[in-house]
């Protein structure tokens, strides 16, 4: 277990380092001089030289990377070109909002999708199963930004049930929750389908296992057999899938933030790209990568925690 943890954390660090390198090189591949971009076309040569010296742009590229690497590892991702605020702080301020959106989207999708998949698997080929199948495929097929736009139009603009934009008054939890409903709906919808399909497939497989028959033979309640026996095994591959799919979840959250004008990493990246504020974009992408890597590690650890066979083979 200890060995496994070390290995996984080491691997995560390598992934983040690769992301760092890629981002760094990307910046150097972009045509044009960073100082000129930062200071604008009307900057004087002296200002550019001063800026280049301050940002170590006159050093050899390897040294630049080394400085960048050590700064990044010590939490310093540079400063906002305009406001001079720390990028780390800006991104970390925006991050919770995005994570809550993604988590709530996933949560409601799981609360609906997992039981749908279970019931479909218990009664395969029933009308319920067929209907769930159709709905699942439909929700998977619709891109999340379309869901965002349409739900915004229908529920906020036409029916006026829910707010159109923003994240609600700071400090007012009820208002924030009220503002979260539509974006979370849009982010989670396709996951209802994903989870229902995934759970159904693995439940069908598990329900044929001998130990399920054995549980019935011991006279256990059908509900116990389905939810405490079969689901406990069938959910394992689903958890891994959620970890891998979390990247997709983040990107739908970014779309939702832009469409609903919510604060968050997505909105931040969008605004900063528009303003050509590259240090912030870079920092935001890096931190998002780190979050993704962490979530994947977490999913694998949850599987190991739930499945003693995996736990012992680590």
């Amino acid at each position: 277990m200890f060995h496994y943890l070390l290995k996984r954390i080491g691997l995560s660090v390598v992934i983040v380092l690769c992301a760092l390198l890629a981002l760094f090189l990307l910046l150097h591949l972009i045509p044009g001089d960073p100082a000129t971009i930062a200071l604008g076309p009307r900057a004087t040569p002296e200002a550019i030289a001063r800026y280049a010296a301050k940002m170590h742009l006159d050093e050899p590229i390897l040294l630049q990377f080394q400085i960048y690497l050590f700064n990044a590892l010590s939490g310093d991702l540079g400063v906002d070109v305009f406001s001079e605020r720390s990028v780390t702080r800006i991104v970390l301020e925006a991050l919770p909002s995005t994570l809550i959106l993604a988590a709530v989207g996933l949560l409601w999708a799981a609360l609906i999708g997992v039981p749908l998949g279970c019931i479909s698997a218990v009664r395969p080929n029933s009308w319920f199963d067929r209907l769930t199948g159709v709905i699942s495929v439909a929700t998977i097929a619709i891109p999340s930004f379309l869901v965002s736009i349409w739900s915004l139009l229908v529920f906020a603009v036409i029916l006026k049930w829910l707010p159109v934009i923003g994240a609600g008054e700071p400090g007012d939890l009820a208002d924030q929750a009220y503002h979260l409903v539509l974006p979370a709906f849009a982010v989670g919808l396709s996951w209802v389908g994903y989870l229902a399909r995934m759970v159904r497939a693995s439940m069908l497989e598990v329900m044929n296992e001998t130990y399920i028959r054995a549980a019935h033979a011991f006279g256990l309640e059908p509900r116990t057999v389905v939810f405490r026996y079969a689901l406990k095994v069938a959910i394992l591959p689903t958890i891994t899938l959620i970890g891998i799919g979390f990247g997709g979840l983040l990107s739908s959250a970014l779309f939702a933030e832009i469409i609903f004008t919510r604060p968050g990493v997505g909105k931040l990246i969008y605004d900063m790209v528009m303003n050509r504020n590259f240090p912030v974009v870079q920092g935001a992408v890096l931190i998002t990568t780190g979050v993704y890597v962490l979530i994947n590690l977490g999913a694998d650890l949850v599987v190991a925690w739930l499945d003693p066979r995996v736990r012992d083979s680590l």
């Binding site: 130990y211 019935h216 033979a217 011991f218 116990t224 026996y229 095994v233 499945d307 003693p308 066979r309």
Partner: protein
């Protein structure tokens, strides 16, 4: 006293894509209280379907269409879901065939036990656990307080099956149904489980239905036996009467074809030619008529009635009809009882051996890296084979025997170069194999072939039989052969019907798939065939066909066989010499007959005594060997068998025995050989 279970005219149908299969037809028998009733039959006989019908847990496409199952006078077919749930587990419980797959891997035994005892509302949690611990101790699980918190994968196969029995008995059911309870276990474990079931039955007066294909097991354990064939009961009666005076030709054939009864090496094993009838369609006449050596006209038109032979013993056969004129003198019955023309391997002179293995050692890396530095970790390398010496002479058959984990399969694969040797030498006709590169080894593999354990699983499902058979030629001699001619020749050689050549593996029966495996092994005309469990998973009647075929091919092509098996009767039947492995060492090696007559190593003795004999008059009173095989990662000191050895002395615990040669030429690793 009425019997606990009365099955009357039970009909069960499974709906399949190819139409309804009539899996059980007119099945009737009684299970008397406090008795053990064995249900015997080959695959497709419907013996397990009987159990699942009683538990009312037929798979979704199965249904009971007629008859009744009375349990304590109550018809189980009329019960609703709630009443059935109450019946299951509380009044009737099941021990499953494979404890590996029948216990949920993600729940500890403590959780599973609490789940099973959910109906005992009056019991507190600690009372439930106390009850479970007592049951675990009763079935022989040491350290039950600690082990109850473990998960199924942390138990060995034998312990897991003990746990399966404990869980089935937790609610003290009146009826225990055991579906092939020892099939997934080693011989020594099987003997222990049989012994346990018998003592539990005597103690708790539980009524037991035991489903098995193993006649020896049934003879050891049961009071009464029901013989089934293709979904019908053909004979039933007290165990002694049925085994001593089998009345139905199928029962007779089944008992005769058990290799444990045919110990002479040179005799062909009796078989039951033909295939199971297609039970999708109603058969006219006797269900066994198509394969019965004694069948006559009436058998093909008229269904036989049950004829009572003596109290409680009846069989369905026209021959037993007192009005039946003895028109059918037994003509065909002796056809198979032939003798092998020459004893293969008897003419092997003291020539240079075909394969010579010396001081072979195979190690696998243990958990490496940082984990190996932690206390209690496994050693950095695990020895799977240790100091193995073996000679295979051209034309002989060597049986390699041992329990699972003994390294017998590893040795076979190592000779084929599929697993690298860590040290020692393997020579083929004097040529050293262990240091060859894959490119140098490849042409040598033409001389060696492997028959894999799982006959169907070792065939690619997407290739036709024809391309499977010629595949070895495609690999080694890709040019210049006529595929169709070769395929036909090989199919004929292994008696595989030619029309099967265009089929795919899943369309074959187990015996046919095994023949394809033999044909593949023969394709390159090798000298050596290594057969890993050649009869595993085959029915008794098919087993004989495969062994006879292998015998004939050996004589025709002067093949050398290395037979890897845990099935001692099979090995005894086919082998000239025997090597017994324990924890990666060969503990005894020598002439097969001599070893069976008088084993020298205590382990060999225990294995031989562990074979259940198909003779209810000679039941063993003791499990032949206690304890379990230790892990190769943590080898015991001294003689590695000492903890399980009945004869172990102080010296055995300290000093590992060297390989010594006895006067009759056997080699043995034991300080105190039983023959000495």
């Amino acid at each position: 006293m009425t019997p606990l279970v009365q099955i009357r005219n039970l009909d069960v149908i499974f709906d399949t894509d190819r139409g309804p299969v009539r899996a059980l037809r007119d099945v009737s028998f009684d299970v008397p209280r406090g008795k053990i009733v064995g249900v015997v039959g080959e695959s497709g006989s419907g013996k397990s379907t009987v159990i699942w019908s009683i538990a009312r847990l037929l798979s979704a496409n199965g249904r009971i269409v007629g008859g009744k199952i009375l349990f304590d006078g109550r018809n189980l077919c009329d019960l609703g879901e709630a009443a059935l749930r109450d019946f299951r587990g509380r009044q009737a419980s099941i021990v499953f065939q494979d404890p590996m797959t029948s216990q949920i891997p993600v729940k500890s035994y403590r959780q599973q036990i609490i789940d099973i005892l959910y109906r005992n509302r009056e019991q507190s949690r600690s009372q439930k656990i106390g009850h479970a611990l007592a049951m675990m101790r009763r079935v022989g699980i040491p350290d039950s307080e600690q082990r109850i918190d473990q998960f199924p994968h942390q138990f060995s196969g034998g312990m897991r099956q003990r746990m399966g029995i404990a869980m089935a008995l937790l609610m003290k059911p009146q009826l225990l149904m055991a579906d092939e309870p020892t099939t997934a276990l080693d011989v020594t474990m099987e003997a222990q489980i049989i012994h346990l079931l018998r003592s539990l039955q005597a103690e708790m007066h539980t009524t037991i239905i035991l489903v098995s294909h193993n006649l020896g097991l049934v003879a050891e354990l049961c009071d009464e036996v029901v013989v089934m064939y293709a979904g019908e009961v053909v004979e039933r009666g007290p165990i002694g009467a049925v085994y001593a005076r089998p009345a139905h030709p199928y029962t007779q054939a089944l008992i005769n074809s058990d290799p444990a009864r045919v110990t002479e090496r040179r005799r062909y094993l009796p078989t039951i030619p033909g295939d199971l009838p297609d039970v999708r369609f109603k058969q006219a006449g006797c269900i066994f008529a198509g394969r019965c050596p004694k069948a006559f006209d009436r058998c093909r038109h008229e269904e036989p009635a049950a004829h009572v032979l003596e109290e409680g013993h009846d069989a369905r056969c026209h021959l037993l009809d007192p009005r039946q004129v003895a028109s059918s003198s037994v003509t065909a019955a002796s056809r198979q009882e032939g003798w092998v023309p020459v004893d293969p391997g008897s003419n092997v002179a003291a020539t240079e051996p075909l394969v010579r293995v010396r001081d072979l050692r195979v190690s696998f890396p243990g958990r490496g890296g940082l984990a190996s530095l932690l206390p209690g970790a496994q050693p950095a390398k695990i020895d799977v084979l240790v100091d193995v010496n073996l000679d295979l002479r051209a034309g002989e058959t060597l049986g390699l025997v041992g329990e699972s984990g003994s390294g017998k399969t590893t040795l076979g694969r190592c000779i084929l170069g599929l697993i690298p040797a860590s040290s020692g030498s393997i020579t083929l006709r004097g040529r050293e194999l262990t240091r060859l590169s894959e490119r140098e080894f490849r042409p040598l593999r033409e001389n060696m072939a492997m028959m894999f354990q799982d006959p169907v699983g070792s065939l690619s499902p997407r290739q036709s039989v024809r391309s499977l058979i010629v595949e070895p030629l495609d690999v080694h001699r890709p040019k210049g052969f006529d595929r169709d001619a070769v395929a036909l020749k090989l199919a004929d050689m292994v008696n595989l019907p030619r029309e099967l050549l265009s089929r795919y593996p899943h369309q074959l029966s187990g015996g046919q798939a095994r023949r394809v495996g033999v044909a593949r092994a023969l394709a390159l005309e090798p000298d050596l065939i290594i057969a890993d469990e050649p009869t595993a998973g085959l029915d008794v009647s098919i087993q004989g066909e495969v062994l006879n075929l292998m015998r004939d091919l050996q004589i025709a092509h002067n093949l050398t066989y290395l037979i890897i098996s845990h099935n001692l009767p099979v090995v005894r039947h086919i082998s000239g010499r025997l090597a017994i492995m324990y924890l990666g060492r060969i503990v005894e090696q020598g002439d097969c007959e001599a070893i069976f007559r008088r084993p020298a190593h205590p382990y060999t003795e225990a294995l031989i005594n562990g074979i259940p004999q198909p003779d209810p008059e000679h039941r063993r009173t003791l499990a032949s060997i206690e304890g379990e095989v230790p892990s190769v990662a943590f080898r015991p000191r001294g003689c590695e068998f000492h903890a399980r050895c009945r004869y172990a002395q102080a010296r055995c615990r300290e000093e590992p025995p060297e390989e010594t040669v006895l006067s009759d030429g056997r080699t043995i690793r034991c300080h105190f050989p039983l023959t000495g």
